[in-house]
């Protein structure tokens, strides 16, 4: 049946295939070991490819997976075999750019773990139970950042105004392009 585009999972791994943050929306992987096996296979299949400038894509165990790497972080989004690949990549790009905005351009594993709360909130804002909630990176980052207003919060040393400044800068850049 034609239905709403469905995201099966969003996965963020480090350069050794370890979990940084993952969120599964499909019950195809009922146990943690099933999830880990999937991530491991996914990682080993994609690690040699170059997905740093443009998002890459692969077919894998009857799923479509789009992925993008930066520094020591590997971003993945999984959808059904018949899904529109460009919708999946829009979600991936939204997640990728939002994390970039929230981490103020310092996107690496260390920074991601230190701001894990932001990453988790980010995941929460992108997809709800498999349904795409928001794909615009500025909107996602805006929603996440506005939630951690407290400037002194140790897990995110920078204030919201700084985060939003970066967001604005990014927006300006994308407009000038």
């Amino acid at each position: 049946m034609d239905s709403c585009p469905c995201i099966k999972n969003i996965i963020l791994l480090d350069s050794e295939g370890n979990r940084v943050a993952v969120k599964y929306y499909s019950d195809e992987w009922p146990t943690n070991s099933a999830k880990e096996a999937f991530e491991k296979a996914l990682f080993s299949k994609t690690q040699k490819t170059n997905a740093r400038t443009e998002a890459e894509i692969a077919m894998f165990e009857n799923h479509i997976i789009v992925y993008k790497f930066v520094q020591d972080l590997h971003f993945f989004v999984t959808g059904a075999e018949g899904e529109n690949e460009l919708i999946l990549v829009t979600v991936l790009q939204g997640f990728f750019d939002a994390v970039g905005l929230l981490l103020r351009g310092n996107v690496d594993k260390k920074e991601a773990l230190e701001n894990l709360d932001l990453i988790l909130l980010c995941l929460d804002e992108i997809v709800d139970g498999g349904v795409i909630l928001e794909t615009d990176a500025n909107a996602i980052a805006g929603k996440v950042a506005s939630h951690s207003v407290d400037a002194a919060a140790p897990l995110s040393e920078q204030t919201i105004s700084q985060a939003l400044a970066t967001a604005r800068e990014h927006l300006a850049r994308s407009l000038l392009k």
Binding site: A58, E85, L121, D124, D128, G129, I132, T135, V149
Partner: protein
């Protein structure tokens, strides 16, 4: 205290791998979570602790029921804090903990307060949390707020309510359906994503009302949909409408085609692609309709984005299967993709080219592929091999270059599956293209010279034995075959001996040489090899005289075994060494498992080496054949289900009886499979007397006695009952075997003329509800579940009482329902507190049934279960509940 010292060293090593969560431990974090209970809350510290808890959950750490409950209660305390950031984390945490029903009550009021808050963020998130954890009863209380939220002027709040509606529609459709006015209003929203979510929900609400969907589509295709995602949805719904109306409009243009074509000029690539794909998938699409879609896909082929190239080439690959000529325009772009960095794209490009290529381009293409093969994975290579096989069948004149290609890649490195695909392809080409036979066989011979897979070697040897003798010069294969006898393991050696014998049987001129070779095999170290050599020497007349091979010998060598191996195995097991040799003619030729399907079907297309063994489904066919051959049962209609045999006697008794229950729409037939295990007896006129006094809805209508039951050759007797049509009647039957027994003289094997009537008590038999459900799996449960719709959904909760384990409870319910577990959900991970199991089946009357079982441990041992049933018929949904309720 050596422990901390070691840890310090570790710390130093890991310095590069610094992580704020290094050395984190669940126990310690749970201790830390006590800060949630402090009267003076420190929001930052609490946020940190929640992050740590979420980190643990995210890493797959499981919380016990007690731990989860404890964390949940302390988290609820955090609603006192006014800190926005903390509240946000609290929401996420509650969702992750997925609290049980009685826990939900604890947070309901706090969440309801947030739901009516002035802060948009509170409203949006509280809605999402509450809808995630709530059950139907609470929903009616908050329905009013949800309806308001759908039309809230803040798009985030509106989206939150709509997306929650999409989820709730699965469990509480009747409530969500009442919101359609508000949802309809939201479809007109200016906010892009609100429009997307509203459209998705509105369509799901109306998806079973074809007219309403039609109206929705025609109004929206005229208007302006702003969000690209919503536009993609609209395209999907439109093609659905086109599909369903295709039968009505025989003449004129396809409705809505103009809309799809217009979408090809949309500014968002996602929409362009969705429309192009929709056009290529139209039923009976014409080449005129295809052209604009192919044109945009062709542009995508040269995009700098891999995802776009992949999407385009994947779609074109599919089009090439049905409309190869429409895709030929893209061939030049496609050829440049052979060297694409992304191997998936390259493989799809190659296989597309192989489908669209013409005879003249084959050689050029093969050259390009040869370079490409060395650096792709086996799974892609298999795809390429299969494409080449079909190309070769399409252009038989090109067999030489294609066969050469296959033999070249056969010699290169590769795994079993890949090699098997190549060998299968060569075999098929040999069978279908006579000119390719001799070269093909030689390629195979060369391959077994250096083949590491026993399975492939034996299969090829077998194939050589059949095809080799029919070639112009059979002698040239002998060397290859005999080399195997020297160099291989016992299995392959035995196969080679059989192959040699076949050459000997077919080609008289080779007989003397074959005899010499076979005689050498008599000194082999392996029993099987020696036995085979001895057998063949004897059957072929290896005493030196070259005589023409008899027809019965040929039949023995080349004929297929027309008895099921399982039966043969059983008979051999039952055979006790005695003076009387084992007689293969006594082996049951039918029933039980595989029937006559193995008999040579002349027109059957070979699918490669070693025809796939007929799977278990043939059991049903066998039963069906058997039953329809009995006139008394011929008018019972179609056989719905046959149970597995149920033993009615203990092992090692005089008479072994098992029964198979055959279920028809309004009849039940018991097939009693009887075996007489006493050599001195012959049973005649065997029947089973069935007492159905504990099965009120059943009435005996016919029985078919077994005329004679000699020692150790199973026979069947049948009893048929009538029952109410389409009703899953259950009952208990007691059985008595009645027969006339005659003494048999063991020396002559002849029975006496006079017999004595006798009876033998059998165990009782039950017809249960599960007998009326066929195990039929679905590949994608979620899709099946959603497309089934919730019209006839029935949900209820059951307490299963104390159980040994969750897994035991899950299996008990699966057995009770007799349905097929889907997606491996019958496996319960150890120590889990809850489990979801998905079942699928077909209920009597051919009604599809899907079941979602949610188990949870309630207390230390008690298991609670939520049962959601969807089917095409509400009485069936109810019936499933009844089975569970009474089971």
């Amino acid at each position: 205290m050596a422990q901390p010292l070691v840890k310090k060293d570790d710390d130093r090593d890991e310095e590069v791998e610094y992580s704020p969560f290094f050395g984190i431990e669940k126990g310690a974090v749970l201790q830390e979570a006590r800060v949630f209970n402090d009267p003076q809350l420190d929001p930052q510290r609490c946020s940190q602790v929640i992050t740590k808890l979420l980190y643990l959950l995210n890493q797959g750490e499981a919380f016990t029921k007690v731990e989860a409950t404890e964390v949940f209660f302390s988290v609820t305390k955090l609603f006192q804090s006014k800190d926005l950031g903390l509240r946000r984390m609290v929401y996420v945490m509650i969702k992750e903990l997925s609290p049980s029903a009685d826990e939900v009550i604890m947070v309901t009021s706090s969440l309801m307060k947030d739901m009516t808050s002035k802060t948009d963020m509170y409203r949006a998130n509280a809605i999402r949390v509450l809808c995630r954890i709530t059950d139907g009863t609470l929903l009616t209380q908050i329905e009013r707020y949800l309806k308001q939220a759908i039309v809230d002027k803040n798009p985030v709040v509106s989206s939150a309510a709509l997306v929650s509606g999409i989820h709730l529609l699965q469990t509480n459709p009747e409530i969500v359906k009442r919101w359609s006015n508000e949802v309809q209003e939201a479809v007109q929203s200016r906010a892009a994503l609100v429009q997307f979510h509203a459209l998705a929900l509105l369509h799901q609400i109306r998806q079973n009302d074809r007219l309403a969907v039609n109206k929705l589509v025609s109004s929206l295709t005229r208007g302006s949909v702003r969000s690209p995602l919503a536009q993609c949805l609209l395209i999907r719904y439109t093609s659905q409408v086109i599909r369903e109306s295709a039968n009505n409009t025989q003449t004129g243009d396809r409705p809505f085609y103009d809309f799809l074509e217009g979408c090809l000029r949309h500014k968002a690539e996602m929409v362009i692609f969705e429309a192009a794909r929709a056009i290529t998938e139209l039923n009976g699409v014409t080449s005129r309709e295809l052209t604009p879609a192919i044109t945009v896909l062709q542009l995508f082929l040269s995009s700098s984005k891999p995802v776009l190239r992949f999407a385009a080439v994947r779609t074109l690959n599919k089009v090439a299967m049905t409309h190869p000529t429409a895709v030929t325009n893209c061939n030049i772009d496609m050829e440049s993709l052979i060297s694409d960095q992304n191997r998936s794209i390259a493989t799809l490009a190659i296989t597309t080219l192989l489908k669209t290529g013409n005879e003249s381009s084959v050689d050029r293409l093969m050259k390009q592929i040869t370079n490409f093969m060395s650096d792709i994975a086996d799974e892609f290579k298999i795809v390429v091999v299969e494409a080449i096989r079909s190309l070769c069948l399409k252009f038989p004149l090109k067999h030489r270059s294609l066969m050469n290609f296959l033999s070249n890649i056969l010699r290169e490195e590769g795994g079993f599956e890949y090699k098997k695909a190549i060998v299968d392809s060569i075999v098929i080409l040999i069978r279908d293209i006579p000119e390719a036979k001799e070269t093909g066989l030689l390629h195979l011979c060369e391959f077994i010279e250096d083949c590491e897979f026993t399975y492939l070697s034996t299969q090829i040897l077998h194939f050589l034995g059949i095809e080799g003798p029919k070639t112009s010069d059979p002698s040239k294969y002998i060397r290859y075959i005999y080399n195997r006898v020297h160099l291989e393991n016992a299995t392959v050696r035995a196969g080679a001996v059989s192959t040699l014998a076949k050459f000997g049987a077919m080609v008289d001129g080779l007989k003397p040489r074959i005899f010499v070779l076979l005689r050498r095999c008599l000194f082999d170290t392996d029993d099987e090899v020696r036995d085979r050599a001895t057998l063949y020497l004897n059957t072929l007349g290896g005493d030196g005289a070259v005589v023409e091979t008899g027809a019965d010998v040929k039949e023995f060598l080349f004929g297929s075994l027309d008895i099921p191996l399982v039966n043969l195995e059983n008979s051999l097991k039952n055979y006790e060494p005695s003076e009387k040799p084992f007689d293969i003619n006594f082996v049951l030729k039918e029933v039980k498992t595989q029937p006559l399907a193995e008999k040579k079907a002349p027109g059957k297309k070979p699918t490669g080496l070693g025809a796939p063994p007929p799977g278990p489904p043939s059991t049903v066919d066998a039963y069906e054949k058997l039953l329809s051959s009995i006139p008394e049962f011929a008018n019972f209609g179609k056989l719905f289900k046959s149970s597995a045999p149920v033993e009615l006697t203990e092992a090692e008794t005089e008479y072994a009886v098992n029964v198979v229950k055959h279920i028809f729409d309004s009849h039940v037939v018991f097939q009693y499979n009887c075996t007489n295990t006493i050599p001195e007896q012959l049973l005649e006129n065997v029947t089973v007397l069935v007492d159905a006094s504990e099965a009120e809805e059943f009435a005996e209508v016919a029985s078919k006695p077994l005329r004679s039951l000699p020692y150790d050759s199973p026979g069947q007797t049948f009893v048929a009952f009538e029952k109410p049509e389409g009703v899953p009647s259950v009952g208990k039957f007691s059985n008595m075997l009645r027969f006339i027994v005659k003494e048999v003289d063991p020396s002559t094997g002849e029975a006496e003329d006079d017999g004595v009537e006798d009876e033998y008590q059998l165990e009782d038999l039950e017809v249960v509800a599960a007998d009326y459900i066929l195990k039929v799996g679905v590949s994608n449960f979620r899709n099946a579940w959603e497309s089934m719709g919730s019209d006839f959904e029935r949900v209820d909760e059951y307490g299963l009482g104390p159980r040994d384990s969750l897994a035991e409870a899950v299996n008990a319910v699966i057995d009770l329902l007799g349905m097929q577990p889907c997606e491996g959900t019958e496996v319960v991970s150890p120590n889990s507190r809850s489990h979801t199991c998905l079942l699928s089946g077909v209920y009597i009357g051919n009604v599809k049934v899907l079941v979602r079982l949610q188990f949870g441990l309630d207390g230390p041992k008690d298991v609670a279960m939520k049962l959601a049933v969807r089917s095409e018929d509400e009485t069936v949904s109810d019936a499933i509940h009844e089975i569970v309720a009474s089971g």
